[in-house]
Symmetry: C2
Subunit: 390 residues, 2 copies
């Protein structure tokens, strides 16, 4: 009866192929302690390069100045046309990488784990260690991620958001607080769960008792998208960012803030087991999402008890006092401000911090080594989430 | 204040780059009526080939016989190193494709829409028309897809399944019937929503009133996976398919059927608004999932009122009468059998149909032109889903 087993295996697509070409199976990435090896089969290629955050840092001078860059490096061709590169002494962290074959950027076909940053997809690899332990899948008590289409009269269409519900949600009638977590310019509803590792960070924090179990709602704030571009092309005609950063139109958040306040929050509060009061709602966001946090909380000061501004602050033209006064008057449980020390939003962040000081408003400031990027925002989520709803 | 606008745009990663290199922006795929154009930038490449289901069909003779194959075709290099190929008179349908650059298979970097079949990721493109209209995103009333980790004592670990809840779910206390929909060998919990387009098909069928609003639960039946390999590497040591197709161990479904009956169904029935009776439960699956459907319904004949077997049936060694008797005795609302006419499971399907005939059991048989592939299974879902829970 073995022939039926074989018949069955031949039904299973890749399985048969894997067995056949096992000798040529390429393992990539391979993480051994603090070394990361990437392998890639391209027998006809002349030059194969690797770009990635785990590569040695070197100084690159361009017309815009001198920068520290990790990679790219040239990979070395070995047997069977398999190119290889091993980076040693890699610090534990979450890294992305891509391969360039004779000038054509591509993904590592042996690594199914990818992340997307706007239009760009990269592979990911995690080097385990203290910094990255919350980025790995939790061993148990993992929450659910839902891709939810909700009606948005504010935009005149259905739109998609992501909703994270923690482990145990729905087991009883227990009600949960809600963090509304906003992406930056170029991001979308998928961003915090892809490069942001939000599910893994929250699963791990909650499982360790370091964060309160909470629901996290991740909307899409882009007027030209009903959903992230990996499932639906952007709308023709609508632009991503029409507004001047100093304009009132931009600061009002356009349709997005209306959508958040009038559509998203009522939808969540009518469909999910949530606690419906100010001190059980948090609003946070990075970069553009930080702007929306600043101005939503100023315009709706009784909606959110917890406020998180990541890699953003006030531009010079804004009246900081006027923006912060309603928040101060209404009161809040936490005003959390996080930024990278070399972040291009650092000056804006300093204006926010000075405003909070001038007004005598309590806040927590977290600055880390790093720039305006997902390394900073992942660490910010790790730092901020344990302070919410406590 | 324009400098702040520029600062902001520079924060948004790809946006700035897009504006700068707009002249070189590559549009791919481009669908115009029934033509599909793929473009790809590779200035240094010598040969760029395109593989895809929409390409002209030609006969290929190998040592195993003569087969009809669509593609691959050579793409033609034009200006700026942009290679291009246009397929004309493409029938409306859902297609996948990949590009080969000097022998290295890769994705189209300008198309963020990808689907995964086990270890292989491809791009997708839909040519609109009657056959494919249910594969496109519904315009409104779209359901939610949730990625759920549930405790599985049967496997001794948490495992992941996908749960589709239809539009309107949770708006009231309305209870829904549930279809448990199983992948094939080489697939996982992601398969039906990726290549299977299950969300789009169900959204469209339900929005048009052609199918009853239902919940769809898509488990992962692979003993070597806690979740699909794009988020978590398979477990070392465990094999995908250990069982001989004729063995009782395989036919019992191993841990999977135990997991389905003892863990998954109770989890779903305790967490979701579902109708908890036989005639509000359906079990269906393709290929390996079809085997699990056959033997789960035989062993638990009072659990499912609706049974769907896709591209599968009985192998010659099985006692068909013994397998079907409990199902017949317990009764059922629908026994649906679907297969492709050139499907390698066709002989097994015929044995199932003959058994149903011999036993005088009512069934619906749907055969379509095509093989053991997702074209067949998408069409099967379109045909079968409207008959469930009616």
């Amino acid at each position: 009866m073995k022939k039926y087993l074989l018949l069955f295996l031949s039904l299973t697509f890749s399985l048969g192929v894997h067995a056949q070409f096992n000798a040529l199976r390429v393992v990539s990435p391979e993480v051994n302690g603090n070394s990361v090896t990437i392998r890639f089969r391209a027998p006809k290629a002349i030059k194969v390069e690797l770009s990635g955050g785990f590569l040695p840092i070197r100084e690159v001078t361009t017309e815009r100045g001198t920068f520290a860059m990790s990679g790219p490096v040239e990979m070395t061709e070995g047997e069977n046309g398999i190119w290889e590169y091993t980076a040693e002494n890699v610090a534990p962290d979450f890294y992305t990488y891509t391969i360039s074959v004779d000038g054509v950027r591509m993904l590592d076909p042996n690594n199914l784990q990818t992340v997307r940053d706007g239009q760009n997809v990269s592979n990911m690899v995690i080097v385990p260690g203290e910094k990255s332990e919350l980025y790995l899948e939790a061993k148990e008590k993992k929450g659910t991620l839902s891709k939810v289409w909700y009606p948005s009269p504010a935009y005149g269409s259905e739109r998609r958001m992501y909703v994270y519900t923690p482990y145990g949600y729905g087991e009883s009638n227990k009600k949960y607080p809600v963090l509304y977590l906003q992406h930056g310019g170029g991001g979308d509803e998928d961003a915090w769960t892809s490069l942001g590792r939000a599910c893994q960070i929250m699963d791990n924090l909650i499982a360790r008792g370091k964060a309160v179990p909470m629901i996290i709602v991740m909307p899409n704030a882009n007027p030209n998208q009903l959903a992230s571009p990996d499932i639906m092309a952007p709308l023709p005609g609508a632009t991503v960012m029409q507004q001047d950063m100093e304009s009132d139109e931009f600061h009002s958040g356009g349709n997005y803030v209306k959508d958040l306040v009038e559509n998203i929050i009522p939808y969540v509060e009518s469909r999910y087991n949530v606690i419906k009061n100010k001190n059980s709602r948090a609003l946070a966001g990075l970069s553009m999402g930080g702007i929306y946090t600043l101005y939503t909380t100023a315009r709706y000061p009784n909606l959110f008890g917890y406020i998180g501004v990541l890699s953003m602050g006030f531009t010079p033209g804004r009246d900081v006092k006027a923006e912060l006064t309603p928040v101060k008057n209404a009161g809040y449980k936490l005003y959390w401000v996080g930024c990278g020390e070399t972040d291009m939003a650092y000056a804006n962040t300093e204006r926010l911090l000075k405003g909070l000081d001038d007004m005598g408003m309590e806040y927590i400031n977290f600055n880390k080594v790093g720039g305006h990027n997902w390394d900073t925002w992942r660490v910010c989520l790790k730092e901020m989430a344990p302070l919410l709803f406590k």
